[in-house]
Subunit: 336 residues, 2 copies
C-alpha cells in the first residue's frame, strides 16, 4: 500500500453532523443548513476564546443528539482548532467524559479528524467516535494578526477566518446503506517558500495539489470519477493556484472542484476578501450542507481535501516560510 494511504475494510458510517456558526456565517448562502447560531458570535460568553469553546460544546451536543445517542456512547473524540495549544477543543470537551485525542493540522484538522477517527474504528473494537474542529474569527484575528480594535485593513488575497464548529459522529456499522468514509490519504508537509501570511491560499495550494495528484496516482482513479472534489479552505486565490498546479501535474479538476471557503460566504454582499478559512469552515460546511446533499443523493461520491497552513504568529515574526499540508478523505453514499 502506498505511503500514508488507507482503504477501510470496515463500514465506517457517518451517523450525523452538527454545526454551530457565528453571526456572519448565519447570514451567508448556507444559512439554512446550520444547526445553531449566535447572534453576536459570543455564544453567551465574555471572551472570544470562551465563545469558541462553548460553540464546540453546542456543536458536539447537537451531533450526538442527532445520532440518537448520548455522550456516554462516544468511545473516543478527536478534535483540534487554531487557538494556541488547541484550547478551544480541550475546553469544549472537558464537561463530557469522553476519551480525547487532540489533533493539529491547521485548517486540515477536520479532514485529519475524520481520517484518524476512521482508522481508530478500523483498528480497534470501538464502536463510535466524534470528529470535530472549530475556529473563531475574533480569537484567530487577535492571536495571529492584530486586535480587532485596531481595525486593520486586509489585502484581497487574505481569507476570513470562519467562526464555526462542525462535529460528525462516526460508527463502525454493519448496515449496507448510509454515508461512509472509505479512504484516507495522509498529506505531506510542503513548503514552496511563501512568506505572506495574508495569502495562505498560495501557501496551502501546493500541498493540496501534491495530495490530490498522489491520490489519483495511487488509487488509479480520475477526477471525473467523483461528483465533487471539495477542498477546505483555499479561498478564491488558492483555488485558482490549485487548479493550475493540478493541471501542470496532468490532472484536470476544474470541472468538479469546489472549495468550502468559497461556499460559506457570498463574495458580493459579504466583504470576506478571498473567502473563508479556519478549521471550522470545512467542518461546518461538510457537517451541514454537504451531508445534506449526500443524504438527498444529489452527490454520492466525493473527495474532501482539508488544507492547512502551518504557521504561527511566532514563525511569521521570525520570517519563516509557511509550509502547507493537505489530508484527503473519500466519502461515499451507499444504498438508497
Amino acid at each position: 500500500m502506498a505511503r500514508g494511504y488507507f482503504q477501510f475494510k470496515k463500514r465506517i458510517q457517518i451517523l450525523s453532523g452538527g454545526s454551530a456558526v457565528g453571526e456572519l456565517e448565519a447570514r451567508g448562502p448556507l444559512r439554512d443548513y446550520f444547526d445553531l447560531t449566535s447572534s453576536d458570535s459570543k455564544f453567551g460568553m465574555d471572551t472570544w476564546e470562551k465563545a469558541e469553546a462553548e460553540m464546540c460544546r453546542q456543536s458536539h451536543s447537537v451531533a450526538i443528539k442527532k445520532a440518537g445517542i448520548t455522550a456516554d456512547d462516544i468511545d473516543v473524540a478527536l478534535a483540534g482548532d487554531l487557538t494556541n495549544q488547541c484550547a478551544a477543543s480541550t475546553f469544549g470537551m472537558k464537561d463530557k467524559e469522553i476519551p480525547f485525542v487532540g489533533l493539529y493540522g491547521a485548517c486540515s484538522t477536520f479532514a485529519l479528524s475524520l481520517g484518524m477517527g476512521s482508522l481508530l474504528l478500523e483498528g480497534g473494537d470501538q464502536k463510535t467516535v466524534l470528529c470535530a474542529s472549530s475556529s473563531h474569527f475574533c480569537s484567530a484575528e487577535r492571536q495571529y494578526r492584530f486586535p480587532l480594535e485596531y481595525g486593520c485593513q486586509r489585502p484581497p488575497t487574505a481569507q476570513t477566518t470562519v467562526s464555526a464548529c462542525g462535529s460528525v459522529v462516526l460508527s463502525a456499522a454493519s448496515e449496507e446503506k448510509g454515508i461512509r468514509i472509505t479512504e484516507f490519504l495522509v498529506g505531506t508537509v510542503r513548503d514552496y517558500g511563501i512568506r505572506d501570511a495574508s495569502n495562505m491560499g498560495a501557501a496551502m495550494a501546493p500541498a493540496c495539489a501534491d495530495t490530490l495528484c498522489r491520490y489519483f496516482l495511487v488509487s488509479g482513479r480520475k477526477p471525473e470519477d467523483f461528483d465533487m472534489i471539495l477542498t477546505g479552505d483555499l479561498g478564491k486565490e488558492g483555488s485558482g493556484i490549485l487548479r493550475e498546479l493540478c493541471r501542470i501535474g496532468g490532472v484536470e479538476i476544474s470541472r468538479n472542484h469546489d472549495d468550502c471557503g468559497n461556499m460559506i460566504f457570498d463574495p458580493i454582499t459579504q466583504d470576506v476578501k478571498s473567502g473563508g478559512s479556519g478549521c471550522g469552515c470545512s467542518a461546518a460546511v461538510f457537517a451541514s450542507y454537504i451531508l445534506h446533499r449526500m443524504k438527498k443523493a444529489e452527490i454520492s461520491d466525493i473527495l474532501l481535501v482539508g488544507t492547512g497552513a502551518l504557521l504561527s504568529a511566532g514563525t511569521v515574526l521570525q520570517k519563516e516560510t509557511i509550509p502547507g499540508v493537505a489530508h484527503l478523505i473519500r466519502i461515499q453514499r451507499e444504498g438508497k
Copy 2:
C-alpha cells in the same frame, strides 16, 4: 471493549529510538544514554524556536538511521510539541517527504503518538511509522511565562521544561522477539479546578490517576504485574499527588512508580524545582534510557502514562482552570 481501550493484535514493534537534548539535560543522570546534544542548546540556530525544530530533525534522523532504514521508508510520521501551532514539529518535519499527522496533548503527546502510531499500523497496511515529540526550555518559557531575560523566580512546585526530542520508529513486524506496544488507553480530559500554572503536577495528577485506575479496571491487571509504571511528567509534586489519588482509588502504585520528570535531572546538583516536564521529557527518556533497559531485559513489561496540562498562556490570563489528560501505553519485551 471499554471506551478508548485498544489491545493490538498485530505485533507493533519498536525498531529504534533516537534522542537529542539540550545542555542541562546532557549534564543530568541520563547523560550517557542520549544520542545527540548541543552545548548551548541552540543546535546551530539563531532562535530558540528554530533550535527546537532542528533538534527534532536531528532526533528523527538518528532514530531512522538506527532502524537501518531511510526517511523514504517511513509511511507516516506522528508528532507534536508545545510551541504555538506545533511549529517545532512541523518545521522539524518539512525537509523529509513523509506523510505527517500533527498531534496535540501537551506533555502527553509522546504517549499519544505511540498509541495513534500503533493504531495506524493496526488498522492499515502501512509498515513503518515515526512517533515523536519535543519541547525546549527557552521556547516554552517565553511562550508560556516570561522572557528568559526577565530572570523570573519560580516556586518549588514549578517544573522545568526539558529541552529534548525523542523519536521512535515502529513497525508492524512478524518476528516473535523484540519490544512491542501491546495496549493503548486514550485518556479523558479531567479538570479538578487547579489554576496555578506553576503547579502543573497537581493539574495533571487527577487525569493520570483516572487513566491508571481505569486501565487496571478494564484490563483486570494489577500494578505489581508490571516492572515499572512510568509517568511523564508529573515531577516531584505531581508524583506524590498521583500516588495518593491512586491509593484513594484502591490502587497502590508506589512500589514500582517512577516519573520521567524525576529521572532526567539530579534534584541535588541541578536547580530544577519540582523536576522536568515538557513533551520532550518522556519522549527522550523513553527513547534512550528506558529502551536501553528493555533491550537489556532489565525491565520487560511496563506502562507509560503520558500526562498533559491543557493550558495556554491565554487560558491562564483569562483565569481558566487547567484541565489535564493522560494517555496510557503498555510496552512489552518478547523473546530473548
